[in-house]
């Protein structure tokens, strides 16, 4: 077993920018990406704000070299994965065993939706088959793996909103077990009618820009995007001869085992995930400098996550914030996008603001950070991702 796993490259696309530089600029300027739906043809357009990537499929296709007819999930994935690939100069690392471990929640559903209406009217020949070719989650991953030329290992994880935290965690273990030297890990999800309507039936969508961890929070805004990090073994890092952003020092997954969609009142799953990630990293709670919250903005998530944090950290709370106030909840991409934010927080010594927070939650003794803080000493970042089915994952990123 190899000991440490390093982060040698990052790539991101979301409602607040395409690429790391754009994204950082938006974060610093408190510029959220939440607005009206423009790319999805839905009756909820006027009512539900979302965090949409500000590029059409044609533009994304132009940037990636993939066809415009491709699922937006794959197009977004390609943009962020390629940025991470280039950042870690993987074209020079061909002699190493490279894997691609991605995640998403609904695969090429955006195209399946186009197919389904004509298919229902005429099952024998209605709808274009090219629109369902990439329905499977794994198929979206393969489009990108093939475009990047990665073939030593590919797989896909889907555990709802914690999907890409789990793909990062799995990728790191593949390196520790010396199955691979390098893994591009993260996730992607595009906005679809399926997810917009699905979350709408759950009545947990905010009709205004979301306010995570506010006493008067109303729900979440869906978002879209992709985020990937390049994980490397110590040996590969030495060969690369480049400074890494940080290491992935801890990770854990636990199941809340409370309800299919709701989190338990005492946040047992999230508590266990955070506690075991700390234990695995060999860190004390006082070592954590910043928590990137799951912080969806729903009544249920924020009190459950907050209670778990209180149980673990009270009375010494690190700085924390939910960057979903910028990007919206990008579902299967969120763990990957927020891993990129964690890497940047460590590299530049920054803490991100939790936007639109006005009233502290009465039940919790802490307030998330409201300002963009620079020149901080950020050695260890805890990043939370929780999903349907009680799936709770925590990752810890540490300075090297």
């Amino acid at each position: 077993m190899s000991e440490n796993v390093y982060i040698a490259g990052i790539g991101v696309i979301s409602a607040i920018g395409s690429g790391v530089n754009d994204t950082l600029e938006s974060l610093e300027k408190h510029q959220a990406g939440i607005g009206a739906i423009t790319t999805v043809d839905t009756i909820h357009k006027e009512r539900l704000p979302v965090g949409e990537v500000k590029h059409s499929n044609a533009e994304l296709a132009g940037l990636t070299g993939l066809p415009e007819s491709m699922s937006r999930t794959a197009l977004l994935s390609m943009i962020a994965a390629k940025e991470a690939y280039d950042d870690a100069r993987l074209n020079e690392m061909a002699r190493f065993r490279i894997g691609f471990v991605s995640a998403n929640t609904v695969g090429g559903m955006d195209k399946t939706e186009d197919f389904f209406s004509p298919f229902l009217s005429n099952p024998a020949s209605g709808g274009r088959l090219r629109n369902v070719v990439h329905h499977e989650c794994g198929s979206v991953t393969e489009v990108v793996a093939d475009q990047l030329g990665v073939k030593d290992f590919v797989t896909t994880i889907s555990t709802a909103c914690s999907s890409s935290a789990n793909s990062i965690f799995f990728g790191a273990r593949l390196i520790k077990h010396e199955k691979l030297d390098i893994v591009i890990a993260g996730g992607t999800d595009a906005l679809t009618k399926f997810t917009i309507n699905g979350f709408n039936t759950l009545q947990i969508l905010d009709e205004q820009p979301c306010t995570p961890f506010d006493e008067n929070r109303r729900g979440l805004n869906l978002g879209e995007g992709a985020g990937y990090i390049v994980l490397m073994s110590e040996r590969a890092v030495r060969e690369l001869g480049k400074d890494c952003y940080c290491s992935l020092s801890g990770y854990s997954n636990a199941n809340d085992a409370h309800h299919q969609t709701a989190s338990s009142p005492n946040g047992q799953g999230s508590y266990l995930a955070m506690k075991n990630a700390l234990k695995q990293a060999g860190l004390q709670i006082s070592d954590i400098d910043y928590i990137n919250l799951h912080g969806t903005g729903t009544a249920n998530n924020d009190i459950s996550e907050g209670t778990a944090i209180q149980r673990l950290f009270d009375p010494n709370y690190p700085r924390m914030s939910s960057t979903k106030s910028f990007t919206g909840h990008t579902l299967g991409a969120s763990g990957g996008i927020e891993a990129v934010f964690a890497a940047l927080a460590i590299r530049y010594g920054i803490v991100y603001p939790n936007l639109r927070l006005t009233t502290r939650m009465e039940a919790l003794p802490f307030t998330p950070e409201k300002n963009f803080l620079k020149n901080q000493q950020i050695k260890h970042v805890l990043s939370n991702s929780f999903g349907f089915g009680g799936n709770c994952s925590s990752l810890i990123f540490s300075t090297v």
């Binding site: 839905t42 009756i43 929640t105 695969g107 399946t112 939706e113 389904f116 209406s117 298919f119 229902l120 099952p123 024998a124 088959l129 499977e136 989650c137 794994g138 198929s139 991953t141 393969e142 793996a145 073939k151 030593d152 290992f153 590919v154 797989t155 896909t156 994880i157 889907s158 555990t159 709802a160 789990n166 799995f170 273990r173 593949l174 077990h177 199955k179 009618k193 399926f194 309507n197 699905g198 709408n200 039936t201 759950l202 997954n253 636990a254 199941n255 809340d256 085992a257 409370h258 309800h259 299919q260 969609t261 047992q268 799953g269 266990l272 999903g387 349907f388 089915g389 009680g390 799936n391």
Partner: protein, 352 residues
């Protein structure tokens, strides 16, 4: 590293549920769609819950619970599932209503249950299991990835047992669509003729196969899972042969040590050329048997293959259903499968 298969649970188009190995007559199908034979779920799951669950969730949960029951494990340390398509029925229901009702009057149940990790999550919820829970959704690697995760977890020594399974279902929608891609034969008189009908396509299958894996052996184990390997889009037959050789070398074995090869031949003339080539080269001189006439073709069919292989080495001989008139003792089985010529996997199963 050796892992012990302590218990199994398998719902498939054959009478496999509650059975440790394939026995009795094979069920014959005269269509190109093989359906799972579903057990009486009320013996394992609360009737109120059964009513809410779609077919794949019932199959997955029941196969998982049956496996745990056999192992005498009330709460596993980890639950890992592989499913290429996920909960297709719930996905189809929500999509259909969304299209037909023009996004109005929708209810959340189908959406909630369409999530790919629903099976693993439901097992955890029923058992109040707070342990590690993961779901892999990578086409013909879904079950193999779950198995790899389980093997690594056990090696990390954070857990002592893992419940791992592969589950996929066919629905009317998915069957209609995959048929249009030409994945299945237009006509077939019997699944028993699968390997003698030289035409394009296979027969559609489905199933749920779960395993309880442990690091420690016991007196009741089925088999030892010695190793597993996947490879993606090999360039040519030579790369496939070389990979099989390297896999065996890594275990200090040669083909002479293998009693039978259990192959994923599925009756499709194009895909079966790979098996034909191997029969004349790498597998030459070794007894080769097949399993997809029993369960049909689906992305997680290697779960069925692992169940079959585990049962064979436990009993020590090959059932007539897959090889008549061979009573040679079987102690070591190599499983080789490819899904759509893209996803290739190898497993080595041996007697305890």
């Amino acid at each position: 590293m050796k892992l012990y298969i302590r218990a199994t649970g398998n719902i498939s188009p054959q009478n496999t549920f509650g059975q440790s190995s394939l026995s009795g007559d094979i069920i014959e199908y005269n269509t190109n769609r093989l359906r799972s034979i579903e057990p009486d779920y009320s013996k394992l799951i609360d009737v109120k819950l059964i009513r809410r669950m779609s077919r794949i969730i019932k199959m997955g949960v029941a196969a998982g619970l049956q496996c745990l029951q056999e192992a005498g494990v009330s709460n596993p340390d980890a639950i890992i599932t592989g499913t290429a398509y996920g909960c297709l029925e719930d996905t189809g229901v929500f999509l259909q209503k969304m299209v037909q009702n023009k996004e109005e009057m929708l209810t959340p149940t189908a959406f909630i249950q369409s999530t790919h990790n629903t099976i693993g999550a439901q097992i955890a919820l029923l058992l109040k299991c707070n342990g590690y829970n993961n779901t892999f959704v990578h086409r013909g690697f879904s079950f193999e990835s779950a198995l790899l995760d389980a093997m690594m977890l056990l090696e990390e020594q954070e857990v002592t047992n893992v419940l791992v399974g592969g589950v996929d279902e066919i629905t009317d929608y998915s069957f209609g669509i995959t048929n249009r891609f030409g994945l299945f034969k237009k006509k077939i008189s019997s699944n028993l003729d699968l390997f003698s009908t030289a035409s394009k396509g296979s027969i559609a299958g489905e199933g749920a196969a779960f395993f309880l894996l442990k690091m420690q052996s016991s007196d009741h184990d089925y088999a030892v899972l010695e190793s597993m390997h996947t490879f993606y889009k090999p360039a040519d037959n030579k790369e496939i042969q070389d990979t099989i050789q390297t896999f065996l070398n890594g275990l200090s074995l040669s083909m002479n040590d293998i009693d039978i090869v259990l192959c994923g031949r599925n009756g499709d003339v194009n895909g079966d050329r790979i098996y034909d080539h191997l029969n004349g080269t790498t597998f030459d001189g070794t007894s080769v048997v097949h399993y997809k006439h029993l369960c049909g073709e689906y992305p997680t069919s290697t779960g069925f293959a692992l169940w079959l292989a585990s049962g064979i080495v436990k009993i020590g001989s090959v059932p007539d259903a897959i090889q008549r008139s061979s009573k040679k003792p079987v102690k070591r089985i190599l499983i080789y499968n490819h899904y759509e010529m893209i996803h290739h996997s190898l497993m080595l199963v041996s007697a305890c």
